[in-house]
Symmetry: C2
Subunit: 234 residues, 2 copies
């Protein structure tokens, strides 16, 4: 009987937005793995830190900041070997993920490497998508609107086409792409339809007018919602 | 000091997918409101039934099945008056919603009516979008994929265009639109890229090949995921 791998979404940042199921699994597995930058703390681990029993073996999955190596195959190869060994030794392992594991999450790279040989259960979490809409007080999508999620790294032409076609759009992973994105929004005349938020539900959450975001100021955890039909919910 | 209106997402169906925050609010407010069909139980209330203290005043928001009255203005007008009266009497009110309140949720109609005069906090929940991906074992969106959420009621031509343009698509509110949707998927040659699921995370969850869904069999709570790049996560 081998162990089960749990991909556990821990939500957008507020520790209270962890689900009851995530909590139960986090507190019962013998091995916990978490993503982190090369140096410094893991945001996913910080979200659940207060809930952890403190007796688990922990496996850090540290990702160097090297855009050229995206996705960083050797890091995931190594993590898959380490996590796979724990599973083969009959230990259940929880890999925690900010937001939801399958919504643009790096968990899918472990999933892709381990799904053939191991039992995997994905525990969905509250994604940044709905957390940002809640914090902004702006319903994400109504009635028969098409909702389009647009990654910030897309080039300006592609982004412009996608945004032109959308009823409602969520532009995610804004970060260092902010200036390009604001340019696209301005070109389409949609500045009045756009709402910007960073670090939704975290203690440092900040909502500011698009025009007031300084060049280079947007963090990775930021999002812009664009509603073509303003106040569709009224 | 008036009461606060909480729009509380209770997740896709599994009671364990309720968040710690939703639970705290549900168990502390004096008034609980829930959506339901004209006759019969409220799914949202059933999801959280085991957690309720049993001492709350409850406000049913019953929606007749009349597509022509969509959105059913008089039902929401009446509910807004009743909920608003409780808030004005200094009671906090939680309105519970399946999934997330702002992801195609009917909560937005109460929000639209009450936001000007009352304090409202939206508590995001796990949406069916990520719950379906988790249950299907299929990462929703990876890297710089554009994710498009397409409501099933759209007409076939619009749906075909949206689906043709998408990298990954989630077709929601399938229900009685299933035959039309399967037709569009077939026309685009995407049957091999589509995954169907109904009632994700509920006890009655069912995953079945698209070709094996009988005419008229799909319930409202069903979804089809279409990945243009198959197994992008590998």
């Amino acid at each position: 009987m081998a162990g089960t791998l749990y991909g556990v979404g821990v939500g957008p940042g507020d520790p209270e937005l962890v689900t009851v199921k995530a909590l139960r699994i986090l507190q019962s597995v013998p091995v916990l793995a978490w993503p982190a930058p090369e140096d410094g703390p893991s945001l996913a681990r910080e979200i659940v830190a207060a809930y952890l029993p403190g007796t688990q073996r922990e496996i850090p999955i540290r990702m160097p900041l090297l855009p050229a190596r995206f996705p960083a195959d050797d890091v995931y190869d190594k993590a898959a070997i380490e996590v796979g060994a724990a599973l083969s030794a009959d230990d259940d392992v929880a890999v925690i993920c900010e937001g939801d594991p399958f919504f643009y999450g790096s968990f899918m790279y472990l999933f892709g490497r381990l799904a053939g040989d191991h039992t995997i259960e994905v525990v969905p979490g509250v994604s940044s998508l709905t957390a940002c809409a809640a914090a902004l007080g702006a319903p994400l999508s109504a009635k028969n609107d098409v909702l389009t999620v647009i990654p910030g790294p897309l080039n300006a032409d592609t982004m412009k086409q996608r945004l032109a076609d959308a009823d409602t759009a969520a532009i995610i992973k804004v970060g260092r792409h902010f200036d390009k994105i604001r340019g696209v929004i301005d070109e389409l005349g949609l500045a009045g339809n756009a709402r910007y938020i960073e670090r939704a539900t975290m203690a440092e959450q900040r909502i500011v007018a698009l025009a007031d975001v300084g060049d280079g100021d947007a963090p990775y955890f930021s999002m812009i919602l664009v509603h073509k039909r303003k106040e569709a919910w009224k």
